[in-house]
């Protein structure tokens, strides 16, 4: 899609369209979305329209084709959008606990059910060798932590073996070459549920997307071998698998998802206004946007320490770019 820059003349109008990935399109995130919309309207005087989607690709293409001003998208989605349209620029990235880019990361997991964990160990250690021929669940093939990161680490592992030397990323999308069957959960939650209800043997998903639903039962957070247990009062989709446990066989850090803007549509002026707005203390302290972690409320972003939005350059995403090459 290199040549889609020409797709329609972009014009700055007085509506700001924000595209949300399916993960963020649920009704329980509505309060957070609306609050973000409200502060944007306040700052720019423009109306905000939220566009909810049912898949990643549409969200990405919408930004590429000048049909949206902003999108909250994974790093991989951002990179694809940038490839498709140079006007796409990162606006801000939610930081880590430190309030800086340094720990603006979350984790991509490969998880297996606790009861089966021994099947995935060689000499008492988890080994990726064991996942060949299993049923595997990814999130979506445009997901950073749910496909790009785990698939590249899997490839890196298997390409060293002669049998799998020619394996490429596409081979992981379908059953046959490496896995018996490949499922896509459509969302991180969906991928996790695929694992817990037995449809998949191994699943890839990320930590933040499921943290509302699970508690650590054993071991340290985000370490290999940690066991997580689904809360007894977990909301859907986990309500059918409450009490089930999974353990992590691999943990990989992933860059946080940015708010990306299409400069052609948004306009430099609003871009600057929004950058100032998002990075302000006012937003960082807005409890509807950064929901206090102990409140138990659902939300898009959570605050346990100094979390806030911080600026990020395009080059910050280079590590992810390297992965999908």
């Amino acid at each position: 899609s290199e040549d889609s820059e020409g797709a329609g003349a972009a014009e700055v109008d007085d509506v700001i369209n924000i595209v949300w990935y399916p993960n963020e399109s649920g009704n329980d995130m509505k309060a957070s979305r609306d609050e973000i919309g409200r502060v944007i309207t306040e700052a720019t005087g423009k109306e905000v329209e939220h566009q909810l989607t049912t898949d990643y690709a549409i969200a990405i293409e919408t930004l590429i084709n000048n049909n949206a001003d902003l999108a909250f998208m994974g790093a991989q989605g951002y990179i694809e959008a940038k490839n498709g349209n140079d006007a796409v620029t990162p606006l801000v990235v939610p930081s880590g606990e430190s309030g800086t880019l340094d720990d603006a990361i979350y984790y991509s997991w490969l998880a297996v059910n606790v009861d089966d964990q021994d099947n995935y160990k060689v000499d008492g250690e988890f080994s990726l060798d064991t996942i060949a021929g299993k049923n595997f669940s990814f999130v979506s093939n445009s997901s950073t932590s749910g496909f790009v990161v785990p698939s590249s680490s899997i490839l890196a592992h298997f390409n060293e073996q002669e049998e799998y030397a020619d394996l490429v990323q596409e081979d992981l999308m379908e059953g046959g070459p490496l896995f018996e069957q490949v499922l896509f959960g459509g969302s991180h939650q969906g991928s996790a549920v695929n694992l817990l209800n037995g449809n998949a043997d191994v699943a890839a998903f990320c930590d933040t997307c499921v943290e509302n639903y699970v508690d650590v039962a054993e071991g340290d957070v985000n370490t290999v071998g940690a066991v997580y247990k689904v809360k007894d009062d977990a909301a859907e989709p986990f309500n059918t698998v409450t009490g089930k446990e999974f353990t992590l066989m691999s943990v990989t850090p992933v860059l946080n998802a940015p708010f990306a803007a299409n400069l052609d549509v948004l306009g430099q002026e609003d871009f600057d206004t929004l950058k100032a707005l998002f990075t302000s203390d006012e937003v960082a302290n807005n409890e509807k946007i950064f929901v206090p972690e102990d409140s138990g409320e659902p939300g898009l972003f959570f605050k346990s320490a100094d979390e806030r939005f911080v600026e990020a350059e395009d080059s910050w995403f280079d590590p992810i770019r390297e992965l999908s090459k």
């Binding site: 919408t62 949206a68 549920v193 309500n239």
Partner: protein, 287 residues
């Protein structure tokens, strides 16, 4: 009885073993027979060809039964309100109406050009060919193309559905037009009427009821499509809630509720359209 004598009666056909044949063995029976045989073979083959990966019958069947029971016996709304549900159904119906009405209007004109008795052969042939191809392209693709190119929203959903609707109706309408008695057209032309006169006063009145029933049928189809496509195109509607409820929240009770809502609307639409058709149109003298 006198089998020896009846043997050589010219009007009795016999099989090789001397039994009397009672089948005529005509072309129609033959084609029907072979079509059925081939379909059966293909069906049996299909089950060998399927991939059964991850299928656990012993788990799947009781689970489906359980899920269906939860869905239909314990429907509930958890993530949105009644008012919201009503509004979303309205959107889906709206998408269906728009795609059907706009599609029907466009199709009407194209069908006039596609009907062999009202048009030139090359125009009619080319329209038919184009329409056949458009019809063969799955609606999903149209919707996705418009969602990508035109942006998320009802425009993408409606335009995407429009292609298939129009193509489908062009075929149906033009076949109806072609069935108009050639004599009627001839008589009108012989009075000095021009093409538009013939169409508006001869063709349309004669086919009005057919056109309407096709439009109603298409509307029913479009409503079903709008459930799926509204969500994909970002136009919302009850389909988005259905997608969220099932793919995201895995909330069967809500899926059940939404299914009921859709079912009720579909049945109501069906009743309305049959009533309308029966009550008004066979007897009316529209022009």
């Amino acid at each position: 009885m006198e089998a020896g004598r009846t043997n050589d009666l010219p009007y009795i056909k016999r099989t090789k073993d001397g039994r009397i044949n009672i089948k005529s063995g005509n072309k129609i029976d033959l084609v029907v027979k072979w079509t059925l045989i081939i379909l059966s073979i293909l069906t049996v083959m299909a089950f060998f060809f399927f991939n059964y990966i991850g299928l656990q019958w012993d788990r799947a069947i009781p689970e489906t039964a359980h899920n269906l029971r939860v869905m239909f016996l314990e429907p509930a709304l958890n993530h949105f309100s009644w008012g919201e549900a009503f509004y979303q159904v309205g959107i889906t119906v709206g998408l269906g109406v728009l795609a059907t009405v706009i599609g029907a209007v466009i199709a009407l004109f194209l069908a006039l050009m596609a009907a062999e008795n009202l048009s030139r052969p090359w125009i009619s042939k080319s329209i038919r060919a184009v329409v056949a191809v458009i019809r063969a392209v799955p609606t999903v693709l149209w919707v996705l193309i418009f969602a990508i190119a035109a942006g998320l929203g009802s425009e993408a959903a409606v335009l995407g559905m429009l292609f298939h609707s129009t193509a489908y109706l062009v075929k149906a309408f033009s076949e109806a037009f072609e069935e108009v008695d050639a004599g009627i057209l001839e008589a009108l032309r012989a009075t000095g009427a021009n093409w538009w006169h013939v169409v508006t006063h001869g063709v349309l009145p004669s086919t009005f009821t057919y056109i309407l029933s096709w439009v109603f049928l298409r509307f029913e189809i479009n409503f079903g499509v709008a459930v799926a496509m509204g969500a994909a195109a970002g136009a919302g509607g009850i389909g988005f809630e259905l997608f969220m409820a099932s793919g995201f929240y895995f909330d069967l009770r809500e899926v059940g509720f939404i299914t009921y809502a859709i079912l009720i609307i579909a049945v109501v639409l069906e009743i309305i359209s049959t009533q309308l058709k029966n009550r008004y149109f066979p007897a009316s003298t529209n022009n």
